[in-house]
Amino acid sequence: MFEEGKGELLSSCTADEIRDWNRNNKDRGLVDKMTTVRSAVEKYVKDGTYLAIGGFGHIRISMPLIYEIVRHRIKHLQISGHTAVHDLDVLIAGDCVDAVDVAYAFAYETRGLSRNGRRAVESGKIKCVEWTNASLSWRIKAAAMGLPFLPARNLLGSDTFRYSAAKEMECPFTGQKLVALPALMPDVSIIHVHYADKYGNCSIRGTTVKDDDLAKASKRVIVTAERIVPDTFFRNDPERTTIPYFCVDAVIEAPHGSHPGNMPHEYYFDEEHIRDYLKAGADDGSLKDYLDKWVYSVNDFDEYLDLVGTKKLNELRRLEELR
């Protein structure tokens, strides 16, 4: 009677498993969590990790962590692709990805499709399970709420549903048909924010996309921040805390950390860089050259920013501020 999607549930958990994880693994204390990109990736990101990335694919993404994952040649990642753009594409370029829960992926919005991403799917290298931006957000919200599922009214009547791992269900009160979305608890999420303190309290300016829920839903949360601030920044104005400290496992200071992506109120897209990257995506050879130059040949994100150059960084700030 009730249909269900035939897509694979890439990451599953019961509500009691969510609770047990949180009881046993999340530190409640106000402890200093400052670390480095390298240590955080080595500690938390493994072959086969189910990874979710904060922001909106090319807006407010944590490029220091993404580059480090590529540099560490992590394999077989499964990715939550709620508007995945440059974040996912670089991981695919680095051959890190096996499967994607796709809401939006393999494309760059107004810039068109990504040849690199398409090639990986069309060659069968990457497995796709279909979702939508809202259904992935609600799956994450379910885990954040400690629930095994959330009901919703989208997805129904579509092939997106048929290639998802959702199920139909009935409302216990009204009898109406609803879609049930299974909770998603990523192994690791990486989130770039505007402000963080050393304990992990975070504040995001502009749209949150789903990062408040993502931080609550994930087993491990690594945060990179444009600026590290004292905890009084949050305690004096606790409404501005987007993510409370106890969700966060590691904090790294990373100014310009979303480059070449946009960081609201800080800097706009580096369109030249993205154009060159997309051009390199035409074939695996050019892509290897790109990665050699920007990822493998630099030791860390500071060296990467030196390659970008101060002039460009200043220009992107002016662009963001509409000057």
């Binding site: 107004t110 939508t132 809202a134 989208n154 092939d159 749209t207 996309v209 946009n262």
Partner: protein
């Protein structure tokens, strides 16, 4: 007579479909341009929602992404995907404004794959927020290119459901009652949907386009009523505003 491109015409015809004072959930590309144009012409109080979380922004210059900082500029509220789509789920979003690679005679949209899902000929981006906006908003406006391949009888993959396979199918599937596709704007014509059959129906052909041309370029039996009109050409005012919105022709120039 002022010269204009096919894309400019699609943008102006599309913008006319939006009512002032209503809320529209806007997808990337041409829907963005057409919504901004509506605000600068006949619908200054049109409220735009972008899926990444922005409500009623004052977009200062052409965005590259529906989630970038231009799309949240001077918004009245910055929320997230769930915040936007829950607002839609409770019936507050009047129009969904979407693009699609394929649109069929029931207004179903494919933006996921061409060919089989598991071994696709062309992998497209997927739903993004399209299925959500299209399922939860009251009326869906779709922009597509007009040829037999892009307007097939049946899309090969329903990313975003239109009327699925006919009258009552949306409600039976569990989608909110009273919702569905409203208009389709192509490079050749403006189309709506027949109330009785839920099938796509011609409303107007664009200037210089014949009904036969439309018929020949449609992959299904398009309903052609007696009162087909001619779409209005863009005015000088509209063309000037389009230039303001996209001075470098990033989308309009495509």
């Amino acid at each position: 007579m002022t010269s204009y491109t096919s894309i400019e015409l699609m943008a102006t015809v599309a913008s006319h479909q939006l009512e002032d004072g209503k809320i529209v959930g806007v997808g990337t590309g041409l829907p963005m341009i057409a919504s901004l144009l509506a605000q600068k012409t006949h619908a200054p109080k049109l409220i735009i929602f972008f899926e990444a979380g922005s409500m009623a922004p004052q977009v200062p210059t052409l965005p590259i992404s529906v989630g970038d900082s231009r799309c949240a500029h001077k918004a009245v509220a910055a929320t997230g995907l769930a915040g936007i789509m829950e607002t839609g789920q409770r019936g507050m979003i009047d129009y969904a404004f979407l693009g699609g690679a394929e649109v069929d005679m029931y207004g179903n949209i494919n933006s996921t794959v061409i060919g089989g899902h598991d071994s696709p000929k062309v992998r497209l981006p997927g739903s993004g927020g399209a299925n959500d906006f299209g399922s939860l908003s009251w009326r869906t406006i779709i922009i597509a290119m007009h040829n037999k391949a892009k307007l097939p009888e049946r899309v090969s993959f329903i990313t975003t459901p239109g009327y699925i396979d006919g009258p009552g199918a949306r409600e039976e599937a569990g989608l909110p009652r009273g919702t569905g596709p409203f208009r389709v704007i192509t490079n050749l014509a403006l189309m709506g949907f027949d109330e009785e059959t839920c099938r796509m129906k011609l409303i107007s052909v664009h200037p210089g386009v014949t009904v036969d041309q439309v018929r020949e370029n449609t992959g299904f039996d398009l309903i052609i009523p007696d009162d087909v009109t001619i779409s209005p050409a863009p005015t000088d005012e509209e063309l000037a505003r389009l230039k303001d919105i996209d001075p470098d022709g990033i989308i309009i120039g495509k």
